[in-house]
């Protein structure tokens, strides 16, 4: 167990991107006392907001603010007041209020780079699963090769993975993906791990710091898709370690001092190697 009461404040200060959930620094027993008693819910609420007013947890239907602000993602407006619509972390930037979700499905957005898996092959298109409720067809014109009608299976087959970009989403969420861009390609070799898409920003870290740390320690090639799929390629043992590191980030995305913990883990794997 890391993070005793003495270490914790320090850990928080060092966390680079400060993705810290409101969390009580009180002793463990205080947390347990709170379990399921009706009249004590107010305490936990106060504690949360006091601990981290910047990173406050909001639940669906929670009142956030009124006036001046505009309702951003994860919020809605009713009678001039803004409420949270999803469970997440409240963030107020300039004149917008957003709620950064902590769970939920990936909903495709134009411009997102995603890792897709071919589900079906048609005569003029491929049907790509992008880990979202909506399957995404890719027309032969959007492939980086010159493909003749009916010749699609020669280039991509069912089960193969591609790196693609969402290039169209309409109002009824008909999605199309494209590979016509530098760097987009069929993925060969390596391993794909899937995480919750809401944890993707955490895996990447501020300005890619987190993913760079993993790359530096493991010497792997890593590509993170916005849809929560991550491709890792390299030395078999290194890949295993990188995947473990990613799982640590996913499981403890909300915890304090994650960067330190991750570095500790990666250092440990390196030492093992030398021995």
């Amino acid at each position: 167990m890391h993070g005793t009461a003495a270490e914790r404040p320090q850990g928080r200060a060092n966390a680079p991107d400060g993705f810290v959930l409101c969390h009580s620094a009180g002793p463990r027993s205080a947390q347990e006392q709170k379990m399921s008693s009706m009249n004590e819910t107010e305490d936990s609420k106060e504690e949360c907001s006091r601990q981290d007013s910047e990173r406050e947890l909001v639940l669906p239907g929670d009142f956030i603010t009124d006036g001046k602000f505009k309702a951003g993602s994860g919020t809605f407006m009713e009678d001039g007041k803004i409420y949270a619509s999803t469970l997440g972390i409240k963030s107020m930037r300039s004149n917008f209020v957003n709620v950064v979700p902590l769970s939920g499905q990936y909903i495709p957005k134009v411009g997102d780079q995603v890792i897709g898996i071919v589900m079906d092959v048609g005569p003029s298109n491929w049907l790509v699963d992008i880990n979202s409720p909506y399957p995404a067809p890719m027309h032969i014109n959007e492939a980086p090769w010159r493909v003749d009608f009916g010749d699609t299976a020669r280039f991509l087959n069912v089960g193969e993975a591609i790196l693609a970009r969402i290039f169209m989403v309409d109002e009824v969420k008909h999605v199309q993906v494209s590979m016509k861009e530098h760097g987009l390609r069929k993925i060969q070799g390596g391993q794909i791990v899937t995480i919750s898409h809401s944890k993707v920003p955490r895996v990447i870290g501020r300005n890619g710091s987190m993913i760079q740390t993993i790359k530096n320690y493991t010497n792997c090639r890593i590509i993170v898709g916005q849809n929560g799929r991550i491709w890792v390629d390299g030395d078999a043992e290194a890949v295993a370690n990188a995947v473990k590191a990613i799982k640590i980030i996913e499981d403890e995305a909300q915890s304090v001092g994650l960067t330190e913990k991750l570095k500790e883990f990666l250092e440990g794997t390196q030492k093992e190697k030398k021995v």
């Binding site: 890391h2 959930l21 969390h23 709170k34 809605f76 619509s85 969420k173 304090v256």
Partner: protein, 279 residues
């Protein structure tokens, strides 16, 4: 005077105005909610409400199958309420029946009213409610659990629905009926409420009430819904507020929360159960 013809010599309300489990007429049974208890589901919740034990799981929004059900402009909420065969004292024949179909329907309609379905056209949000142990009021417990599970799954909605029943037992208006009160009582009125706006999304009545009685019952269960709403929010805050690094290694053993402690502490029934085990 009786509702369904079932008569009993149980004294449902004693001289002191206490009910058979010692509650006052306006008192809820102990309620305990745990969010995110299932790993495979997108969101889940476990509710213990008196002797009710209900598990709710949410999947989606996901691709809607069968295709003809999908709506090109919005998501649909499909609820499946199911009672385990061991949930009642006489074995319940497994599978859907008229009652569970009705409950599935009213719960999906209640949930559809709060979920922002227009954000996910052509998809389906699937809610599975499993009643593990029943002691009257399972539709309310199911709806309460389903709301927490939806929030846990990150589904956007107006508010979390809270739900509670009230009714008439031995000519008294009481809150949150238990099994005996439901069977031998005069009326049962389950209510589903959107706490923030006060909208009613579920309201049924089994039995007869005068208008005054009905108003009193409704006021009672509305007040209870606000309390329940706080327990729901507390369950989610507990799951998401505590940094995982802080949770001790043995925490996994206590989820779902141990059933007996804190609910009926010092209940003679528990003691007899333990003694029987020892013999």
């Amino acid at each position: 005077m009786n509702m369904g013809g079932a008569t009993t010599d149980i004294k449902l309300i004693d001289e002191n105005g206490r009910r058979i489990d010692g509650r006052r007429p306006d008192e809820l049974r102990p309620l305990k909610i745990e969010a995110g208890v299932l790993k495979r589901a997108d969101g889940s919740a476990y509710v213990e409400w008196g002797e009710n034990k209900v598990l709710a799981a949410v999947y989606g929004p996901r691709e809607c199958h069968p295709r003809h059900l999908q709506n090109p402009t919005r998501a649909i909420v499909q609820c499946n309420y199911n009672m385990a065969s061991f949930s009642v004292s006489d074995r319940k024949k497994p599978g859907p029946d008229r009652r569970s179909q009705e409950i599935s329907k009213i719960i999906s309609e209640a949930l559809e009213h709060v979920v922002f379905t227009h954000l996910f056209p052509r998809t389906s949000i699937d809610v599975y409610i499993e009643v593990l142990q029943a002691n009257a009021g399972t539709r309310c417990a199911g709806l309460t659990a389903a709301s927490v599970a939806l929030a846990d799954a990150g589904v956007p909605m107006k508010d979390m629905i809270a739900s509670c029943a009230s009714g008439k037992v031995a000519d008294t208006i009481v809150l949150d009926l238990r099994n005996e009160e439901d069977n031998y009582g005069q009326a049962d009125v389950p209510l589903g409420l959107v706490p923030r706006t006060g909208e009613i999304v579920l309201l049924q009545m089994d039995g007869d009430l005068s208008i005054e009685e009905f108003k009193k019952a409704l006021t009672m269960s509305t007040e209870a819904c606000y309390k329940i709403s706080e327990v729901q929010k507390d369950a989610l805050r507990r799951k998401y507020c505590v940094a995982p690094a802080e949770i001790p290694a043995n925490m996994g053993d206590t989820i779902p929360a141990p059933p007996t402690e804190g609910v009926y502490e010092g209940n003679p029934q528990n003691d007899t159960a333990n003694n029987q085990g020892g013999q």
